[in-house]
């Protein structure tokens, strides 16, 4: 059986400053919004609880931007052997 001291230690470990552990009855998701990434807490039924964090979205490139933007010079037909 845990003594009060042990209990306090475990409580401190789970809830203390610096701990990022998320209680199991909530979920945390990231929502990109404009240039920001908003981290929000939701209930298991997807009900909004609170905003956990707002930070600048460092993933600046969109999918389209990540793709090689350039095509190529389509000139093969001009070099085909007769």
């Amino acid at each position: 059986m845990l003594s009060d001291k042990d209990f306090d230690y475990n409580k401190l470990k789970n809830k203390g400053t610096g701990s990022h552990e998320v209680p199991k009855d909530y979920k945390i998701i990231d929502c990109p919004f404009d240039r920001y990434l908003v981290t929000i807490k939701l209930t298991p039924d997807n009900e909004f609880v609170e905003i956990v964090e707002v930070k600048v979205n460092k993933d600046f490139l969109s999918y389209k931007q990540k793709m090689p933007p350039k095509g190529f010079h389509d000139v093969e037909e001009f070099y085909r052997e007769e």
Binding site: M67, P68, K70, F72, F78
Partner: protein
């Protein structure tokens, strides 16, 4: 400098080798029933082949090669290429990718469409190998134009095949007597970039509008 003067004692990506055959399976159509399997395998012994594996992938008695072939006579119709065929290995302006005569014939709209593409690669599947004393000269005959005697060569990425050889254990532990030329680091980087671009080219149907 296209090639190094002193070669490493190991096989490298882009090396020119000799003594290895090439193979090409030929079928009339897909073989969907083994009982009616009809196919040919064309075996050739090109004078030279080029290593198409990144250095660390040359192992386990296997290497990817592609034949070193003669350059196309048509390239010499474009003065920009004729001056230095290795320009085909690098990005270029749209009007440099064809001869001035062809460019003029394209029409204003087509020229504008091509200018909007900007500086990029042409002939994506090809990479030119610079002239070298160890590469024999050959003659390209052209219609109504002077013949061209050259020892520029090229590789076609689409002709890459797998070769198994018991003596190819690792880049260092391989028959180095077959190696005749090694690309400089800069040229190998150009080859890598063009090969990457060949595979990275996104077809129009996959582009997000």
């Amino acid at each position: 400098m296209f090639y190094v003067k002193v070669m490493d004692k190991a096989l490298r990506f882009g090396d020119v080798l000799q003594g290895y055959p090439s193979t090409t399976p030929i079928v009339e159509g897909p073989i969907l029933k083994e009982t009616v399997a009809r196919y040919n395998i064309n075996v050739d012994l090109p004078k030279f082949t080029v290593v198409m594996d990144p250095c660390c992938e040359i192992r386990n008695k296997t290497v990817s090669l592609t034949p070193l072939i003669k350059a196309s006579r048509k390239f010499f119709d474009n003065p920009y290429f004729a001056e230095d065929l290795t320009r085909i290995n690098r990005e270029m302006e749209p009007q440099q990718a064809v001869s001035p005569l062809v460019w003029k014939k394209l029409g204003i709209e087509e020229r504008q469409r091509r200018l909007e593409v900007g500086r990029t690669y042409a002939l994506l599947n090809l990479f030119i190998y610079e002239k070298h004393d160890l590469l024999p000269l050959y003659t390209l005959q052209r219609k109504a134009k002077e013949d061209v005697v050259t020892n520029y060569y090229m590789i076609d990425f689409r002709s890459t095949y797998k070769l198994c050889c018991d003596k190819i254990i690792s880049p260092e532990d391989s028959p180095l007597e077959s190696k005749i030329l090694q690309l400089s680091i800069e040229t190998r980087d150009e080859l890598r970039k063009k090969l990457v671009n060949y595979y990275a080219n996104v077809p129009a149907e996959d582009k997000v509008v």
